[in-house]
């Protein structure tokens, strides 16, 4: 059992190191994505998104935080999506 846990952890760390080798930096293309593009790409993987006008600024702030935690969005994505929704309502 203990061996399994350590072996599992070792595999995960090895995998993270492997995929991190090519580049740990966010590419320019990704960094330049707008909030609307990130909103469209990320939210629709699981569900269709409500209209930005459905909620006010404070509500969007809380809802996007909820989704950031639930679907492990990056901080940068969550900030851009929140700003887009607040600017569009």
């Amino acid at each position: 059992m203990k061996k399994n846990i350590y072996f599992g952890l070792l595999l995960i760390l090895g995998f993270i190191a492997f995929v991190s080798l090519p580049s740990c930096k966010t590419s320019l293309e990704v960094r330049e994505k707008s909030g609307s593009v990130l909103w469209s790409e990320n939210c629709s993987r699981c569900h269709y998104s409500p209209d930005p006008e459905d909620y006010n600024d404070a509500q969007w702030e809380v809802i996007v935080l909820h989704m950031r935690v639930r679907s492990s969005l990056t901080e940068e994505e969550a900030e851009k999506i929140t700003k887009f929704l607040q600017d569009s309502n």
């Binding site: 599992g8 995929v19 699981c46 909820h66 935690v69």
Partner: protein, 389 residues
């Protein structure tokens, strides 16, 4: 000893992270004022649905089977503190059921890590945590074996669990990666004393633990494409499942899962295409149980369940009705430990149509046909009217 090692690893990990977080608090970001600024903010979202079923082979051929309402309360308690809870109200066979689906307090340690504790949707595979909610699931039923049904074995953690998790997401080049590690009460072994037919089956609704050993699990998700259209995930969960001081006390279980999601708008066919698949494997140590006649028996306790779902929505065509229609097909298989009293191979095909009245409200219709291999067949037409709010 094993539990101590796991807890020690988590505590060390968490304390290091908390130190980092408090260091960050010393230099907080300037708070951006908005017209609705305020430290504490909350919102109630959720969903409601109503189900209807036509089952030609049943004595009751048509039935309004279930209605459900699940308010989800989310509180942002500060810049780093966050609480979320969902309460479920639903009728099943005419009885009103209520339950706390999840209630978890989370702390954002830094941009790469959030820790949380409480009753949580188990991050094992993608279905339970992200797809299972009726307004997200585009068919009116769940994949075979992926939703907890009272009196049925759970093949992997498919129910909410009590525990603690560490999670986060980060960019790697053009792609992304996300992770969750968790400790939970884990599964409870059905010894078959009260229900001999379920001997050897696991149930993950173990809200007051049956032993001192915690289960340890997690999920790693990779999104290799820059447009986040593809996500591939791998999950695991290991732990002891027997009741403390019983002869099954040291029985181990190992569950593994692999999931794939692909979502893309294909302009050449003017449609949005969505593909999802998940497979769960469960292995429980071999043990001896007593059958209904009082005779001992044992079996290889290995099971797996999987589903593949494809949906196409011609969202870019001119016809406004067709644009709101989504066509779905899902193939489901459950291979349950063949020599268990609850064992057997089940196959089910679901064909459905979902019509979106708005982006959050839909009418779903599906025809499901299933069979126990070598046994009886069943079919039904299901209708669900659902909204997310």
């Amino acid at each position: 000893m094993k539990t101590k090692n796991i807890l020690a690893t988590f505590l060390t990990f968490s304390s290091l992270s908390l130190n980092l977080a408090f260091a960050q608090e010393d230099n907080p970001k300037p708070f951006e004022k908005t017209s609705l600024s305020g430290v504490t903010k909350n919102v109630i979202i959720g969903y409601a649905y109503s189900d209807f079923m036509i089952s030609p082979k049943s004595d009751v051929k048509t039935n309004f089977t279930r209605v459900g309402f699940s308010p989800t309360m989310i509180w942002k308690l500060g810049e780093k503190l966050f609480f979320e809870s969902q309460v479920e109200f639903y009728t099943d066979s005419g009885d009103l059921n209520t339950q706390v689906e999840y209630a978890k307090l989370s702390f954002i340690v830094n941009k790469y890590m959030t820790v949380g504790m409480g009753k949580m949707l188990t991050p094992f595979g993608l279905y339970t945590e992200r797809i299972e909610a009726p307004f997200i699931e585009k068919l009116p039923n769940s994949p075979l074996g992926f939703k907890h049904v009272e009196g049925s074995p759970n093949i992997g953690p498919i129910c909410p669990e009590m525990g603690f998790d560490v999670r986060g997401g980060f960019q790697i080049g053009n792609g992304k990666m996300n992770y969750v590690l968790y400790v939970a009460n884990g599964a409870e072994l059905n010894e078959g004393l009260l229900e001999p037919k379920l001997a050897g089956a696991l149930e993950y609704e173990n809200f007051f633990d049956n032993n001192s050993k915690k289960s340890f699990g997690g999920r790693i998700g990779i999104l290799p494409l820059s447009n986040s259209s593809l996500e591939i995930g791998g999950s695991w969960c290991i732990g002891e499942v027997g009741k403390a001081k019983s002869s099954y006390e040291h029985l181990n279980s190992k569950a593994y899962s692999f999931d794939v999601t692909y979502h893309k708008t294909l302009r050449n066919i003017k449609s949005m295409v969505d593909f999802k698949a998940q497979i769960n494997y469960l292995l429980v140590d071999k043990a001896t149980y007593i059958n209904e006649e009082g005779d001992p028996y044992s079996f290889e306790n290995k099971s797996d369940i999987y589903y593949l779902r494809l949906s196409i929505r011609p969202a870019l065509v001119k016809n406004p009705y067709l644009r709101r229609t989504e066509f779905l097909a899902r193939y489901n298989v459950a291979n349950l430990a063949k020599d268990a009293l609850w064992g057997g191979e089940y196959i089910r095909l679901d064909l459905g149509v979902s019509y979106w009245l708005s982006l959050r409200t839909g009418i779903r219709l599906a025809y499901e046909v299933g069979e126990l291999v070598g046994g009886k067949e069943s079919n039904a037409i299901l209708v669900r009217f659902v909204t997310g709010f």
